[in-house]
Symmetry: C2
């Protein structure tokens, strides 16, 4: 059995569409006539991406929302989704959650497939969107001198996860029902030099964005990062599932949506990422590794 990194590296040797910046890395971009389509596919697996016994309505919401978040990071407006659904317990709740998320975001169900299966279920979703701005924002593109921003606090999903797991009185909504920042992504698209959604933790995604860039490094000032629980700042910056947008822009740009400036892009360094001046790497447990 080969590991995931080797698998993805091998996939990149296949006939890839020019717009396909790889699996997991980025959404696919497809020029069709005068339009630019964005395509993403994310899968969730029982026991890994959700807690046993979780309400399947929340799983349906999250499955669609995480795909819409990929579209948000591209400044795309959603066209529709296709589902790959393994039938099982809680399908009635799944349908309710699906109805809620589709109507909430005005997204259409285009089609898909249902299969019957035993054991841990895998749920897949393909989302299709239409780019509203070209060039389409990408992970790659940050320039030395750019400022680094996040649209909101990180760590709320972590607190929500703990509330759900422990059954405590805190609100678990941020973990159960992430909100893809579609309007924010569209508003930001013309102003950013790079953009992605934070799915696997702020620091890991900063590392990825800096690594995708050309001869640059990210310098993050932890005190500037807005976190859901200031007493657990380090954890908040390492937990994923918040789906805030991380982006870079010329520091003189007047941004159309509120965002927190958390650092600066500098020229390439020993490492693509420094936190408060200290080099960090993915070996320092900087976020959620898939998975």
């Amino acid at each position: 059995m080969i590991d995931e990194g080797a698998f993805i590296a091998a996939l990149r040797t296949l006939p890839l569409h020019a717009g396909a910046r790889g699996l997991r890395d980025d959404a696919a971009i497809l020029e069709i006539g005068d339009e630019t389509l964005i395509l993403t596919h994310d899968a969730m697996i029982e026991g890994r991406h959700w807690l046993p016994g979780q309400d399947m309505a929340d799983i349906a919401w999250k499955l669609v929302a995480v795909n819409l978040s990929d579209l948000a990071a591209k400044g795309a407006e959603p066209v529709g989704i296709l589902l790959g659904h393994t039938l099982g317990d809680g399908d009635d709740r799944f349908l309710e959650g699906l109805h809620e998320v589709l109507t909430h975001y005005g997204v259409k169900l285009l089609g898909g497939d249902t299969v019957a299966g035993d054991g841990a279920r895998t749920l897949g979703c393909t989302a299709i969107g239409r780019a509203t701005h070209r060039p389409v924002p990408a992970r790659r593109g940050a320039r030395s001198g750019d400022a680094i921003y996040v649209t909101g606090p990180v760590g709320a999903a972590m607190l929500g996860f703990e509330a759900l797991r422990d059954g405590n009185a805190k609100d678990s909504t941020a973990y159960r029902r992430p909100a893809p920042l579609l309007a924010e992504g569209r508003a930001l698209a013309p102003h950013v030099t790079a953009m992605m959604d934070i799915s696997d933790g702020l620091l890991l995604d900063c590392w990825r964005m800096a690594s995708a860039g050309d001869g640059i490094a990210f310098e993050i000032d932890s005190a500037r990062v807005s976190v859901a629980d200031p007493s657990r700042r380090g954890e908040c910056m390492r937990w994923g599932d918040d789906y805030q947008l991380l982006f870079t822009a010329d520091p003189r740009t007047r941004l159309p949506v509120p965002a927190t400036r958390i650092g600066m892009v500098s020229n390439a360094d020993l490492s693509p990422l420094r936190l408060d001046g200290k080099i960090l790497t993915p070996l320092d447990s900087i976020g959620y590794q898939h998975g």
Copy 2:
């Protein structure tokens, strides 16, 4: 737990795109600028859609091929695919098969997702194609007086499955490496009144096509059906996985590809399907029920 029929019926109450004739029924059709896109998603699950121990190269081939076959039935030319891949044993062989099928059909990998999981694996594929003829052929559309055709023999996949399962000397290629009839689908699209690929058995898919139509019934003459093993005609007409194209056309149409005429479309009857004059229903074990 609700059953698959109820699940799909409930999905149809969701906000569906106008082109989405439902999950499983048909591919989704999306008008984008001047182009018409076809989108399909099919999933395969370990132990249900493939035999334990099967070469994962064949599974990769089939996963992509069955999605391309859905595009073929729409007369579409493939643009690319997205994968939803659960990592596991045989991934090296999976990559080899993926490379083979993508290069063989000139299809590009656009993106996707990989997840780690235990237990039975689910593999998903979304295929995107560009319509070459409008209106796009559909299951619906057959008219009374049309002739019913199949592009080639049915039952070859059944014999291939048995060869693989029993380890006998027969050729298992038809089961392991189905060939989507992309060129045939494109050539036929301007001439047909209805078209679909035969994935679940000739008789079941005839029943579905007739049921999708408006006030029509299919009259099939079993002696005319080309089968891989004439001594097992009934089984050959009920086994799936052959991916021949089933279509209807005006009997005076000169067809651009070879096809066998197997019957006639008549006006609505007690049942949408008669075989040699006898009424058949899905309760008569006419094909592979998903699944």
